[in-house]
């Protein structure tokens, strides 16, 4: 087990290095720089002073080496569009917001989705199954920005129950979470439904039924635990996405989250933020994949972590 983990961590570092390097060269190849994207018709001297201060006037190779040195020293750099803010502080301040909204949405989405999926599978082809599948379809096909705009209008203007935008109290979280949990509800419902259907067709379920175990016990003890496995993989990759947040929901509800920050940073050509956030997101994603694999191995004794048979 420990050898496995160490090997995976080693791969993680390699992948991180590759991702960071590729992103570095990609980001620097886009036309424009942080200051011309902000200030119209900048005089040449000001632009030169700005680039010199941040070292952008040097050849790309020199900049790359300097960036790597900084990275190894643990410094992810400072934002260019918002001078004086360090990338690490940006993550510290904004990640909790995205994390809270995304996390709660995922939990609600997961719980409701699983329940709906099981109900649909167990009542296969009856009306409850069809209704749930329609809900799942709507959840997948309705674009987030449509749902967000509609919810915002209906619940803040037509019936002014919730605040339109902002962050701070629990009521600020209701609408964003509602928007973001529809996707997970839909996908987990569908996934769980097919997984449960798969399991109920297995021989061991037939055996249990033949032995006279009651339906409820079969579902609780056998069906659920076995159909759960694919969903764990899905959840792990979703968890990684929580912190990168949803740009659309954060923009519409004016949430101070990381998703909006990341996308805006690309538009603003804020190199340090783009690179710094990219590293963090990649790292979180790889770690969550690792944890997922370990969890799976722990839950399902059939899965071996290493290749020795």
């Amino acid at each position: 087990m420990s050898k496995f983990i160490l090997k995976r961590l080693g791969y993680m570092l390699l992948v991180l290095f590759a991702v960071v390097s590729i992103t570095f060269f990609l980001v620097h190849s886009i036309p424009g720089d942080p200051i011309t994207s902000m200030v119209q018709d900048l005089p040449e001297e000001t632009r030169d002073a700005y680039l010199a201060r941040y070292g952008f006037d040097q050849p790309i190779g020199v900049q790359y080496v300097r960036f790597l040195k900084q990275l190894l020293a643990g410094d992810l750099g400072s934002s260019l569009r918002y001078p004086g803010r360090k990338v690490v502080d940006i993550v510290k301040n904004y990640a909790p917001v995205s994390g809270a909204v995304g996390g709660i949405a995922l939990m609600i989405g997961f719980t409701i989705g699983i329940i709906l999926g099981i109900v649909a599978a167990l009542n296969r082809n009856k009306w409850s199954d069809k209704v749930i599948m329609v809900i799942a379809l709507l959840g997948t096909t309705i674009p987030t920005f449509v749902m967000a705009a509609v919810l915002q209008y209906v619940f803040t203007v037509t019936f002014p129950i919730f605040p339109t935008t902002g962050w701070g109290t629990a009521s600020h979280m209701v609408l964003p979470v509602a928007c973001m949990c529809l996707g997970p509800i839909a996908s987990y419902a569908r996934y769980m439904r097919s997984s449960v259907l798969d399991v109920t067709n297995q021989d061991y379920i037939l055996t249990a039924e033949a032995k006279g175990v009651n339906q409820f016990k079969i579902v609780m003890r056998h069906v659920l635990r076995n159909s759960f496995l694919p969903c764990i993989t899905m959840i792990c990759s979703s968890v990684a996405g929580i912190f990168s947040g949803s740009f659309i929901v954060e923009s519409i509800f004016a949430l101070p989250g990381l998703g909006k920050y990341f996308i805006s940073a690309i538009n603003d050509r804020d190199y340090s933020v783009v690179l710094g956030l990219n590293i963090i997101f990649t790292g979180v994603y790889i770690l969550s994949m690792l944890i997922c694999d370990i969890l799976l191995a722990l839950i399902d004794p059939r899965i071996r972590l290493s290749n020795d048979n």
Partner: protein, 554 residues
């Protein structure tokens, strides 16, 4: 059962399609049924509790007068800091400085400061204004707007690293007297540059992080910065120590940072925001129908234009440029793109600009009008220009590109409008290029375009807008004209208002006659406000911040 379900679903889908095709009737009369004044009538009794919640257009970059990047940041500074002077009702008035003397040769300004205090109780001194200027001149800070201060002696040299920041022409002869020495005469100094103070010890204490949080910033203006939740809101409180605190009625102001336009409109509609600039025609109609809202049209002092790249092989010929400029139907463009709030432009300078007491536009006819009369057929002019440039005499062989700095569906519609006008009137082929605004600004700045859509805001005097084409490279148009440069710099040194106006007029005439740009329209903002908001006005260039606003009958 299955059949009915399928039919029902297809019906829903078809209805969804039609929902998107709703016609919006454009308002042909912005004054319809609404009170529209330049100032509001009937100021009522101010409320007991004075609060205001409005929109702040973007998250501030950094609240440091030497490092900020956005125009929205400067707007915030006028509320939390006290500049030497402000522009009120279109004229320069004393703010941080109660009076000032200008020397005979116009090169030395002596400011006598008012008694004012920072939010920690320390008095605002002349040295604070000097500190700010020194930091702005420091090349390490890479101040984006440094060129506004180049008239100050040695400022440009210090910014280029050729002189020390201590050499700049700014000294504090005593706590309440500030002396500015100019390197070259600039009579419009106080209406083009803003002088904010900055405490040296605070700058020292916070270093790089100065102005990144509310607690790393010191206020000395009409309001203090009470809190700043990044990307969410900014809260201001009335500064009781302010020298003019008796005249400020607002006690608390909340600035909500909302980037999405639908969210802004929803916030205004449900009463969270107290006023908002609205351009969406459906919402304009909706708000005009509401009794609890009023409307005021505020000219934006901004010229939307097409710039021509005068270094390009096709557009280096003036007749070709002029032909493209004349072929535009400015009335249609203003009507369609802005729903009639904008005014067609036949010159560079908008009608809000003035030279001292003289309104510019009232005294100077827009140059393109006369050129239009003299050239009723733009196509013929194009053919002449093409022959001169050796491009043959058949416009259908000419292909040019218009670069646009947005990629939204609306942007495509507008660009296609220009395209169809040119193709119909001139018979040439116009291709469209769309980029996001950063790439577009970068391309235009580096001269990688043929024709580009852009806009320039103005200051009180025409000096600022005209000077955009007096730079070393000839501005965004790369139009280098020495006579023009001389006119603009002479105007900056001319004290007599009539003479100065005349010089500006000559410069504008050169710019338009040589068609370095094709002005299209002057924009205006339609601001809707709830009836309890008082004190709003339509003064485009005022820098009084929120000091005059109050609520009555909320």
């Amino acid at each position: 059962m299955k059949r009915t379900l399928a039919l029902l679903l297809s019906l829903i889908m078809i209805c969804g399609m039609f929902a998107a095709c709703g016609q919006s009737d454009t308002t042909d009369d912005p004054n319809k049924g609404q009170e529209e004044n330049n100032t509001q009538t009937e100021p009522g009794t101010p409320d007991e509790v004075q609060t205001l919640t409005i929109l702040h257009t973007a998250e501030p970059s950094i609240l440091d007068v030497a490092r900020f990047l956005g125009i929205a940041d400067r707007t915030l500074f006028f509320n939390v800091l006290e500049p030497l002077t402000r522009i009120e009702d279109g004229v320069v008035v004393g703010a941080g400085a109660k009076s000032w003397d200008v020397s005979e040769d116009g090169l030395t300004y002596t400011f006598h400061l008012r008694e004012n205090y920072w939010s920690d109780g320390q008095p605002v001194t002349a040295e604070d204004y000097v500190t700010a200027l020194k930091r702005q001149a420091d090349p390490n800070n890479a101040f984006a707007f440094a060129s506004d201060y180049y008239s100050i002696k040695n400022f440009e040299a210090a910014f280029n690293g050729e002189a020390s920041v201590d050499d700049i022409g700014a000294t504090a002869s005593d706590d309440k007297t500030l002396v500015l020495e100019l390197g070259s005469l600039n009579v419009t100094l106080l209406s083009t540059a803003d002088f904010f103070p900055l405490r040296a010890d605070i700058a020292e204490k916070y270093g790089d992080t100065l102005g990144t949080e509310a607690d790393k910033f010191l206020s000395c203006g009409p309001f203090t910065l009470a809190s700043w939740t990044h990307n969410s809101d900014i809260k201001l409180e009335k500064n009781e120590k302010y020298w003019d605190a008796d005249n400020i009625k607002l006690q608390n102001v909340t600035l909500n940072i909302i980037p999405d336009s639908n969210a802004q409109l929803a916030s205004f509609e449900n009463g969270t925001l107290d006023y908002l600039n609205v351009s969406d025609s459906d919402y304009v109609n909706k708000f005009q129908g509401r009794d609890d809202m009023s409307e005021i049209l505020i000219p934006a002092g901004r010229t939307i234009m097409i710039v021509f790249n005068c270094e390009d092989s096709t557009f280096s010929n003036a007749k070709i440029r002029q032909a493209f400029s004349l072929a535009l139907d400015r009335d249609s463009l203003a009507e369609v793109i802005t729903n009639g709030t904008a005014t067609p432009a036949y010159g560079l300078i908008p009608s809000e600009c003035s030279v001292g007491d003289l309104n510019y536009r009232e005294n100077v006819e827009e140059p393109l009008l006369a050129i239009k009369e003299a050239n009723p057929d733009p196509k013929a002019l194009l053919i002449e220009g093409m022959e001169e440039a050796g491009l043959g005499s058949d416009p259908s062989t000419l292909t040019v590109t218009l670069s646009w700095g947005a990629t939204t569906a609306a942007a495509r519609t507008y660009a296609e409008l220009y395209q169809s006008m040119w193709q119909d009137a001139l018979g040439c082929k116009v291709e469209l290029e769309f980029n996001d605004s950063s790439t577009h600004m970068s391309n235009v700045g580096q001269g990688k375009y043929q024709m580009a859509s852009t806009s320039w805001g103005a200051n009180v005097e025409p000096q600022f807008q005209l000077s955009r084409w007096a730079t070393k490279v000839g501005g965004q148009s790369r139009w280098i004209n020495n006579e023009y440069k001389q006119l603009v710099s002479k105007a900056a040194q001319t004290l007599d208002e009539k003479e100065r106006l005349d010089l500006y007029a000559q410069a504008e005439k050169l710019l338009i006659e040589d068609a370095a740009i094709a002005p299209v329209y002057f924009t205006a903002n339609r601001r809707f406000y709830y009836n309890y908001v008082q004190g709003l006005n339509a003064n485009t260039f005022d820098t009084t911040g929120l000091t005059r606003i109050y609520t009555s009958g909320r």
